[in-house]
Amino acid sequence: MTEPILSVRDLHVEFASRRGTLRAIDGVSFDIAKGEVLGVVGESGAGKSVTGLAVIGLIDPPGRIAGGEIRLAGLRIDNLPPEEMRRIRGKRIGMIFQDPLTSLNPLYRVGDQIVETIRTHLNLSETAARRRAIDLLAEVGIPAPEKRIDGYPHEFSGGMRQRVVIALAICAEPELIIADEPTTALDVSVQAQIISLIKRLGRDHGTAVMLVTHDMGVIAETSDRVAVMYAGRVAEIGPVQDVVRTPLHPYAKGLMGAIPTLAGEDKRLVQIPGSMPRLSAIPPGCSFNPRCAFAFDRCRAERPEPQPRGAQSVACHLYDDVPAESAA
């Protein structure tokens, strides 16, 4: 296998607060290969967005990367000087944020914002950059781009603005796009369009995508692999059809059980009892143990490490003594 575009190893992110240091990310590892879409799913506060921000180097004080390493196509990027990291942002890693309504500067024409970004990263003339901007707008599906390029953000609808944001994220042909809940703020009908747009762009350009969302439907539709995060750790990671059909981790099972199905009889949706612990009160051992129906003594004492099970990898003591073959 060739070298992954993004490789995160044992990442730790901490936030200094008045009540001591909070560990938002606690030993997260994953890879994303060229052209692959990795879905990252979990409850609010599980550390999905922070992981994305850590990769692109936008963790602001009081937060900091406390350990581990992040490699972009082999190059270590978590400890680069700010100026070099800035050159990578937008050029090699593009990012799409949740709310397209507030992601664009309201005082500048969308074209000016695209041209500015292109010219920051690529050595192009004003007119060449403008031509490229029009092409990009056309590529993300904005009608009459040569006219719309001179519009202001408030003249675009939410879905159209998210398309502009995507155009901005891909304008320098990045190898990796981090999409942080790109569809949460949009109408359901627009969501599908944006998802298929991101999917198509990833395929056409061979771009790797890290898709952060709490919508399992979006993940199932888009991703090649999926990572389930819980309380700052990866509970389970694996090919999307395996994780959706045969989730291993009790938390992942709970998540899949909470997806409503069209064929669904009148069964009530399964709920996971309780809620995710606050960062200041993570229980010892497995952080999921207070909510887990299968928890036993070891779960309360010892933290489970990720272990491979077929194509999946799961961090759960339930699989400690079972030989890998019979697990799935």
Partner: protein, 326 residues
């Protein structure tokens, strides 16, 4: 856009009309103007002739319309004290006041924005904290005290700058300027600082607060995620978004700078309209006072109009709503 401007202009004329009524009624409340003109031994017949010559025997509304029509052509009558047309007196004094006001405003804007941006971006540095402390002084000390302190330090103790007057001035047509001579420029420094200090601290605090607010917004985070340079983010994206409130305050303050330059002009014996006004008050020179009132309100109304139009230049969102409303 044109309809919007016209509507605002009509409103402005309404305001001016109301101020005109107040200015006009000053003449009536301050006693019979003929008393100010005639001497003690003038006969009743002569007084009546004066009354008629000045139009004071006409009904009040007629007198008011005449006053307002004259004022619209910048004819404000004759000063009791100087025996010269008020318009001549004002136009002689206006360049001094305007030059001072503009210098003070430029000083306030330039330093206010620079210090505001700096103290927002480098919040925890010693210099930023010093700026905050200085701004507290600037906001709380009264103007005349700052003027006197500056005179004491730079004119009396160090002897670097003149303590009063405008220095040498050059005549350019009807305009006189102190900007072209060394002594004129030197004379301008202290009054400008005195007059502009309050505005500067106001703008600085405003820019700092707005800047901190804007730097937290999503579009700044997205701009960083696009890898734009820090310079482009701070000065292109963030600063422009702080300008709306700054324009409002600076614009309205420009009006107060002109109107309340009275104190600074008195402290520095600056030969401007403010000083003229103070002398007029002392001598109950009603035509000058009324004309000054009209002038100041005209300036305020004009500035408000300009500020409204400037908003739409900075913020495209207002352009379309204004267009739709019109």
């Amino acid at each position: 856009m044109l309809a919007f401007t016209l509507r605002r202009a009509v409103q402005a004329i309404g305001v001016m009309f109301a101020v005109g009524i107040i200015a006009f009624s000053m003449f009536r409340f301050a006693g019979d103007p003929v008393n100010q003109i005639v001497s003690i031994d003038t006969s009743a017949a002569e007084r009546l002739a004066d009354d008629r010559a000045l139009g004071l025997d006409d009904p009040v509304p007629v007198q008011f319309m005449r006053y307002f029509a004259d004022a619209a052509q910048f004819k404000f009558g004759v000063s009791y004290q100087f025996r010269q047309p008020v318009s001549t007196l004002l136009s002689e004094r206006m360049p001094a006041t305007l030059e001072l006001a503009i210098c003070a405003t430029v000083f306030a804007m330039v330093f206010g924005i620079l210090m505001g941006v700096y103290s927002a971006l480098k919040r925890d540095t010693v210099l930023a904290k010093l700026f905050q402390a200085v701004s507290l002084i600037g906001i709380s000390l009264p103007t005349f005290l700052i003027g006197i302190l500056l005179i004491y330090l730079f004119a009396v103790t160090l002897g670097w700058l003149p303590s009063f007057g405008r220095g040498e001035v050059v005549k350019l047509g009807w305009w006189t300027t102190g900007l072209l001579t060394v002594s004129g420029l030197k004379a301008l420094i202290m009054p400008s600082i005195t007059l502009g200090l309050f505005q500067m601290t106001l703008i600085m605090r405003l820019v700092r607060a707005e800047m901190l607010e804007v730097l937290r917004t999503d579009y700044i985070r997205f701009a960083r995620a696009r890898g734009l340079t820090t310079r482009a983010i701070h000065f292109g994206h963030a600063l422009k978004n702080t300008l709306i409130p700054v324009i409002t305050v600076a614009g309205l303050q420009f009006g107060s700078v002109i109107a309340f330059s009275i104190i600074t002009e008195t402290v520095f014996q600056w030969p401007g309209m403010g000083l003229l006004f103070v002398q007029a008050v002392q001598n109950v020179d009603i035509p000058i006072m009324a004309a000054y009132l009209l002038m100041v309100s005209l300036i305020f109304v004009t500035i408000n109009l300009v500020v409204d139009i400037l908003y739409t230049v900075v913020d495209p969102r207002l352009r379309s709503t204004v267009g739709r409303a019109a």
